[in-house]
């Protein structure tokens, strides 16, 4: 155990910090769940890319700078500490990206990853269907082989920011006679292909944050398949591991929220002090975010020594989603009667950012596999308890 950063790591931190200090927009961007905000965020991603900061742990040839995971954590810490915008292309960069690294052909990597790093292509995730939510193996959308093409039919839903995105990675049934986890294929679909219809769904915050997507004889070339035909479940589970595990939600994000929460408490100390559970929740938030960070450093170290993230990714997902919820609930408690005010209200505090975050935090225990499902996985696969 050696808890000192190397000179190279320190220099990297300093460089990232300095660049962010000079470049992070002073005024927060519009919400990326709106067309305007989406484009502003794309613009920001391009700036990051131009300075090789969008995907630091990717190889240089693919638009990154070949950082290791410790450097990635450092980058994330600096990124969130600076108050920089949320990552609008996270479905591509953090979920599909690593999947392609592992399962993609060389040609697919060259074709998709640099454009993804530059956010020239924005990606949406197409797994869920009306009748396949927690039970993802119930997918019925089809990708039927026809010569050198797949013909797609069916419906996906809850696809985050799909109305603004360029591409979709989805799971389709390529063997119509198959059932459950078998006979699925992982396919990449350009969202402007003929036969694709995207209908926005309004989210809790009133914005068109996700969409349902209909496929009506949509043709995509066979080279858009990732992994072997019929092996889509296996590929998708790797992606899900990234989503639940380390990548999608790095600790910096929650440590930043915890720090803001402490500041909020300090600013409202007198009123907040009347409810002793608030003080406790603020301190627990800090402890929770620290524990999450420590777990990440520990995991990253083990990965460097050749370990793999397994079913314990599910513990991660529970921890970050419930921590995020708790921090935003605590903020609402501190704000008291002003907590309900939206951004347009002149008396709202900090542009109603806590309220916005509180609404989104409600989704944390649902997306990326619900927390009930994660608990089932932990109990059955990690602990070996019998299935219900």
């Amino acid at each position: 155990m050696d808890l000192a950063y190397t000179p190279k790591q320190r220099a990297f931190r300093a460089e990232v910090r300095a660049w962010l200090a000079d470049n992070v927009p002073a005024k927060p961007l519009a919400s990326y769940d709106t067309q305007e905000g989406f484009e502003q965020h794309r613009e920001w991603e391009r700036r990051l890319f131009d300075h090789r900061l969008s995907m630091v742990m990717w190889p240089e040839a693919l638009g990154g700078r070949g950082c290791d995971l410790i450097e990635w954590l450092i980058f994330e810490e600096e990124y969130y500490a600076s108050g920089a915008p949320l990552r609008v292309n996270q479905n591509g960069q953090l979920l599909l990206g690593p999947t392609l690294m592992e399962f993609g052909t060389e040609a697919q990597k060259q074709r998709f990853l640099p454009r993804m790093a530059a956010s020239e292509d924005m990606w949406a995730q197409g797994w869920s269907e009306p009748n396949a939510g927690s039970d993802m193996a119930a997918i019925t959308s089809k990708a039927i082989r026809d010569g050198n093409e797949y013909v797609l039919n069916g419906q996906k839903t809850w696809s985050t920011r799909a109305i603004y995105a360029d591409w979709l990675f989805g799971l389709f049934r390529s063997d119509p006679a198959s059932s459950r986890h078998h006979g699925l294929s992982f396919v990449l679909v350009p969202l402007d292909a003929p036969g694709v219809t995207i209908r926005p769904i309004r989210a809790l915050n009133g914005k068109e944050a996700f969409a349902e997507i209909f496929f009506d004889d949509v043709r995509v070339p066979v080279e858009n398949r990732v992994g072997e035909e019929g092996q889509g479940w296996h590929v998708a589970m790797a992606t899900a591991g990234f989503e639940r595990g380390l990548l999608l939600r790095s600790p910096g994000r929650f440590q930043h929220t915890a720090r803001r929460l402490v500041a909020l408490y300090q600013a409202h100390r007198e009123a907040a002090g009347r409810d002793p559970t608030i003080r406790e929740a603020v301190c627990e938030s800090w402890m929770g975010a620290e524990a999450y960070s420590l777990a990440a450093y520990h995991t990253v170290g083990r990965l460097a020594k050749g370990a793999r993230i397994g079913d314990e990714a599910s513990t991660n997902k529970i921890v970050w989603s419930e921590l995020d919820l708790k921090m935003h609930e605590t903020a609402m408690r501190i704000l008291g009667a002003r907590g309900e005010l939206v951004a347009e209200a002149p008396d709202a505090e900090d542009g109603a950012s806590w309220l916005e975050g509180f609404l989104f935090a409600q989704a944390g225990p649902i997306y990326a596999g619900t927390n009930e499902i994660q608990r089932n996985i932990i109990a059955e696969r990690m602990l070996g308890l019998p299935k219900a």
Partner: protein, 352 residues
């Protein structure tokens, strides 16, 4: 000793529920909320026709003279159907204050009659609320100036709108100048009026929170019975069952606390404030949990605008800190429980 409701009270609640089910369907509320004023004269008219605006008005002034205990049932129905603020504020909270004004306030009778016939909306300001609900749409505002109570026509105030996450709530910062012409009480009398008004405001919100909790539980139970995953209703999974059972448990144990508090206010009991704060905390906890577990049981559906659950969740998140946030109410409970004069223990439930 009989800590239950009379047949009449229960029948009354049933009738109110049936009426609101017909007249205040979620689609209708959504339509109203999307309008600028956010209030429907038509709905208010129907509510008045049913006599609901006249519940608290003394019989001498053309009302039914019902007390806080009846209102603890009524407010649950208002919560269950997410009826906007001004009804409870006008017909319960403001009415309570106005009927306690001395006869010397010459417009008292006129106001009470207009409350009864549904032709007036009254907004109530209180020091505990930074903003005033429904100030923009009120005909009359009851506003504090120190201990003084002022009854101020809408034309004499400016209202700076402060939109809430709950679209059915219309909050405003009220800018106004107190004058002797608007003053209706002051000194000890004013202080006493504001104290009781606070308890009624809190009770009103507590009852609504409880009704909202029940509504979200009902919606979630229905959804969990219908939605299938893995070939079974999701309500058959223990995790989902337990989420909803926890909510039901909270609700069951908040109800009697609310009723006891309503009784204490109706009878002007010395410890009424403690019971009222206890009720607000219990009802708030139940509602907060019902929202959290409700959205969880709904999965992504619960995170949409289209599914009605969101209307009730947002109302809970908004009302939870109105008429005193949790810190305010916990302080009042702690002040009693940890105070020297506290009479605690078995046999003290009803203050013997």
């Amino acid at each position: 000793m009989d800590f239950t409701f009379t047949e009449d009270q229960l029948a009354f609640r049933e009738a109110v529920s049936r009426f609101l089910m017909m007249e205040a369907a979620p689609e209708m509320l959504r339509e109203i909320w999307e309008t600028d004023v956010g209030r429907s004269p038509d709905l208010r008219h129907k509510i008045a026709e049913q006599g609901l605006t006249a519940l608290s008005v003394p019989a001498d002034n053309g009302g039914l003279g019902m007390d806080d205990i009846a209102w603890s049932l009524m407010t649950q129905e208002l919560g269950y159907y997410a009826i906007p603020d001004s009804l409870a504020d006008t017909a319960y909270v403001a009415c309570g204050l106005i009927s306690s004004l001395p006869e010397s306030v010459t417009r008292r009778a006129e106001w009470l009659e207009r409350i009864a016939d549904g032709s007036i909306r009254i907004a109530v300001g209180h020091a505990v609320n930074p903003l005033v609900a429904d100030a923009h749409a009120a005909d009359l505002l009851l506003l504090p100036h120190g201990d003084e109570v002022h009854a101020v026509p809408r034309s004499l105030v400016d209202v700076i709108a402060n939109p809430s996450i709950d679209l059915s709530r219309r909050l405003g910062r009220v800018v106004w100048e107190p004058t002797s012409a608007t003053r209706v009480a002051s000194g000890d009398a004013g202080r006493a009026l504001w104290a009781t008004t606070l308890e009624r405001g809190v009770l009103s919100v507590a009852g609504q929170l409880l009704g909202l909790a029940q509504r979200m539980l009902d919606l979630s139970v229905d959804y969990a019975a219908q939605r299938k995953q893995f070939g079974k209703p999701i309500g058959s999974f223990q995790a989902v069952k337990h989420h909803l059972a926890d909510v039901a448990t909270r609700i069951e144990f908040a109800k009697p606390v609310l009723y006891r508090a309503a009784h204490a206010v109706a009878h002007g009991e010395a410890d009424a404030a403690v019971h009222v704060s206890h009720a607000k905390l219990a009802c708030g906890e139940a509602a907060w949990l019902a929202a959290r577990h409700g959205i969880q049981a709904h999965g992504a559906m619960g995170y949409t605008w289209e599914v009605d659950l969101q209307m009730f969740m947002k109302r809970v998140w908004a009302l939870d800190a109105s008429w005193g946030d949790r810190g305010f109410h916990k302080t009042r409970v702690a002040g009693f429980v940890l105070g020297d004069a506290a009479r605690l223990g078995p046999g003290r439930t009803f203050g013997e």
